[in-house]
């Protein structure tokens, strides 16, 4: 009898704690518990936005309605869509985000290749300076750039955003150069030598060998570059001024835009409408993220195969 109890105790113990600690039920419970709690904390602001955005004015005022709205009230989205002028502003936002992102990514690849593949005098100094540019807060160089762009006559045009990106001085350009630099260091030199024997020039090697191999890096760099340009409001507001408004600048001025477009009166930009607007603005990024996320993982796998 005693041994039987002991035995069942042991098998129970084994079920809970496993043979090794890491395959027991107890361990799994803790692991998933932690993951779910932390995941919830991460998602809490988003869930808050989502539930709030469906609340009507009555729901907002009603103290009995706490978390979930009484019905799916879609007018917030309609109003927010209208105030944001979503269609035209989305187009405008895309021109000042996609174009700099593409340029920045391609230029970063070029510069990264230069640093990774060639020996030249003062290389160390240049590389150290490149890394240092990441640490300079944009506020230091902003004012002289502002004056420079004013003198060139490109202030309040798209070019004031595009030109820094084109010369590798855009938002966090140094990081993108570093991404490509690290990647190109990994490509074996034997590939270059083989191409060189076949008569390829340095430029040919770059376009025919290096670029195809580094497509995953292009994808990562582009995704980040795009997102950071999309989320940038400070530089955009300063340099674009009246020359262009992005969706995020409109969100920044949402209340005044609301009053201008939908008029004051009883109607005001309540929290629910602002949450709907915020969600509308992050929606394209979230969609792009979930699509590219998969591509991104596939890209990593692919580079694992080719990376020998």
């Amino acid at each position: 009898m005693k041994t039987m109890v002991h035995k069942s105790n042991r098998s129970f113990h084994r079920l809970i704690f496993g043979m090794k600690f890491t395959d027991g039920l107890f361990y799994k419970l803790i692991l998933y518990g932690l993951l779910i709690v932390i995941g919830f904390v991460y998602l809490y602001p988003l869930l808050h936005m989502l539930t709030y955005s469906f609340k009507s004015l009555q729901d907002l005022l009603d103290p009995t309605i706490n978390v979930l709205p009484s019905s799916l009230y879609l007018d917030n989205y309609v109003n927010a869509f209208q105030v944001l002028e979503y269609g035209p502003l989305l187009l405008q936002t895309l021109t000042v985000t996609l174009v700099p992102a593409v340029l920045q990514t391609s230029v970063a690849s070029l510069i990264g290749y230069g640093f990774a593949r060639f020996q030249f005098p003062f290389k160390k100094i240049w590389f150290a300076l490149l890394l240092a540019t990441y640490m300079i807060p944009p506020q230091v160089t902003m004012i002289p750039r502002y004056v420079l762009f004013f003198n060139l006559g490109i202030l309040e045009t798209v070019f004031s955003i595009i030109i820094p990106a084109m010369f590798g001085q855009g938002i966090a350009s140094a990081i993108f150069v570093l991404i490509f630099y690290q990647f190109y260091l990994m490509i074996p030199k034997a590939l270059d030598e083989a191409a060189q024997i076949d008569g390829a020039t340095r430029w040919n090697i770059y376009t025919k060998v290096a670029i195809p191999l580094s497509l995953p890096s292009y994808l990562t760099a582009f995704l980040f570059s795009f997102v950071w340009y999309w989320n940038e409001t400070y530089i955009m507001r300063l340099f674009l001024g009246n020359g262009g408004e992005t969706l995020l600048i409109r969100l920044y001025n949402f209340v005044s835009a609301y009053n201008a477009i939908l008029g004051g009166g009883n109607d005001y930009a309540n929290e629910a409408i602002r949450m709907a607007a915020t969600l509308l603005i992050i929606a394209p990024l979230v969609v792009a993220y979930f699509i590219l996320q998969r591509l991104f993982i596939e890209g990593i796998d692919r580079s694992g195969i080719t990376g020998e």
Binding site: V41, P45, V107, G114, W126, Q139, M142, V147, I282
Partner: protein, 317 residues
Amino acid sequence: MKPQLEKKPKTIKTLFTKKINQLTNRQREGLTGYAFISIWLVGFLFLTMIPLIESFIYSLNRITIVGGEGIRLTMVGFANYVTLFTSDLTFLSRLQDFVLEMILFVPVMNILAIMIAILLNRQFRFRGFFRAIFFLPVIITSGPVIAELLRQGAGTIPSIAESGFLDVLEDLLPPFLNAPVQSLFSQIIFMLWFSGVQVVLYLAGLQKLDQSMYEAAQIDGANVWESFWKITLPSLKPMIVVSSIYTIVTLATFANNPIIVWISNVMFNPNFGYGYAAALAWVYFLVIALMLMVTTRLVSPKEASYQVVKELEKFKR
């Protein structure tokens, strides 16, 4: 006359090719390298180096905007800096808050990131899903979005505020630590939101670790706790340096940062102007640089400089 005209470009071209052919292999490689980075060199010179010097010159001047014509400089020496340190209480108090906040935030965020990375490095189902969630905020954090959420009070978990936990803390802590610690707890979600990149950095570091090291340690009788302190943490050191630098720079340049807001207010304020804003920006820049230096020193007193040297050694090959 005509044949001469046609001849001239030809001679230049042959001269040029001759010159190219005379170069040694090494010189040619150097030229190609410079060709590849030339676009960065131009950009660095005109969009970063010269503006950096110019902004220092601006900070020594009082700047007035002449309608439509640009700006006029009036040399005032270090007057802007004197005003800044003697009478700009807004800037000084915000700077103090910022430094205290950094001292708390950077370690806390890094510890959280290491913990989450260790969690994600385990084997379990839906790993990709959880990783996607933890990384999602990197995509959506921007000034206006954060401002909207903070206005809603969505930046904190309601139960922390309701539990009276913060009141207890207020009684226990010395006054100067109160504000930063309060903001630490009221912004816990945003600290998590801002640590997505750090989590990925640590995850990459963890995945590079050799599992056999842990097995060897286990055979020698080390438990999980000991192998964390003796193996995991030391090998993550370079990641800690990088991630701390990233954290400081991101938080320092974030658009909602009170100091950044103050600098841009000052810039368009006729009483202060560009010159004063430039002085503020320079002081801020130096404070950040100092913080980065202290952090790298603290995390790895010897390794920090060693790491940089090793990174640069790669160039020699």
